[in-house]
C-alpha cells in the first residue's frame, strides 16, 4: 500500500516524514512546510529519483508570497488535487 504523506511544518515533522517515505509514496507540503522548498531543497529535490512525487499546496504557497513554478522537482496542488491524491493513497499526516 502506498501513502500520501502530508507535512505542515518544516522542522522535525518533515525530518521524521522523510525518513519514513517509500517508493511510490507521495508527499504534500502544506502550511509552513512549504518553506522547505527553499530551506531544505537538497533533501526534497532527490525524491523524484526515488519515485516519490512531491507536491506543495497552492494556497499556502501563494499566501506566503512563494512561487514554485520555477522549481522543476515540485508540483503545485489545489485542495481538489489533495482530495484526488487522498483518494488514491492512504493518508499519513505529520505535524
Amino acid at each position: 500500500m502506498t501513502l500520501l504523506h502530508t507535512v505542515n511544518s518544516d522542522a522535525s515533522a518533515l525530518t521524521d516524514c522523510l525518513s519514513a517515505l517509500s517508493q511510490g509514496d507521495a508527499l504534500l507540503l502544506m502550511q509552513n512546510a512549504v518553506y522547505a522548498l527553499h530551506s531544505r531543497p537538497a533533501e526534497l529535490a532527490i525524491l523524484g529519483s526515488r519515485n516519490i512525487r512531491l507536491f506543495a499546496l497552492h494556497d499556502d504557497l501563494a499566501a506566503r508570497g512563494l512561487d514554485a513554478d520555477a522549481i522543476d522537482w515540485v508540483e503545485t496542488a489545489s485542495y481538489d488535487d489533495f482530495v484526488a491524491l487522498a483518494a488514491r493513497h492512504s493518508v499519513c499526516a505529520w505535524y
Binding site: M1, L3, S12, A20, S22, S90, A93, Y95
Partner: protein, 120 residues
C-alpha cells in the same frame, strides 16, 4: 472489515503537550475495539522509552508506566527506530521483549503494512 490495522507512530517526547498520551489513548481505544494496533517509536518519540521517569515531579502521569501497561490491552507489537536511539545515546537501554529495533531501510516498509497510519 477485518483488514483494518493501525500503526500509531509516536514521534514526540513524553510530557510534550500531551501528544504521546493522545496517541496512546487512541491506540488503547482501537485495541478495545479489536483493531490490531502496532506502535512505532521514532525521532524524539524514543525518549518515551527512557527508564526512570518520575513524572509526578511535574504533576504528570508516567508515560513509562502507561507503556508498561500496554500488553494488558494487547498492544504488544512495538517497533523502535534504532538510529533514533543511537542519536540520543539510548542504544543501551533495555527494551521489552515485544519491541523490535528497526533500521533505516526497514522503517519505511513498515508503514505500508498497515491500512492506517497515525502520527502523534
Amino acid at each position: 472489515m477485518s483488514e483494518t490495522s493501525v500503526l500509531v507512530i509516536l514521534r514526540s517526547p513524553p510530557y510534550h503537550a500531551g501528544r504521546s498520551k493522545s496517541g496512546l489513548d487512541l491506540a488503547m481505544a482501537f485495541a478495545a475495539f479489536d483493531i490490531p494496533v502496532a506502535l512505532l517509536f521514532m525521532g524524539d518519540g524514543v525518549w518515551q522509552l527512557s527508564p526512570g521517569q518520575a513524572a509526578s515531579e511535574i504533576g504528570a502521569k508516567s508515560v513509562e508506566k502507561t507503556l508498561a501497561s500496554l500488553p494488558l490491552y494487547d498492544i504488544e507489537q512495538w517497533y523502535v527506530d534504532a538510529a533514533a536511539l543511537a542519536a540520543r545515546g539510548l542504544d543501551g537501554i533495555a527494551l521489552p521483549e515485544h519491541a523490535s529495533r528497526v533500521d533505516d531501510e526497514t522503517l519505511p516498509t513498515l508503514l505500508g503494512r498497515f491500512s492506517q497510519v497515525l502520527v502523534f
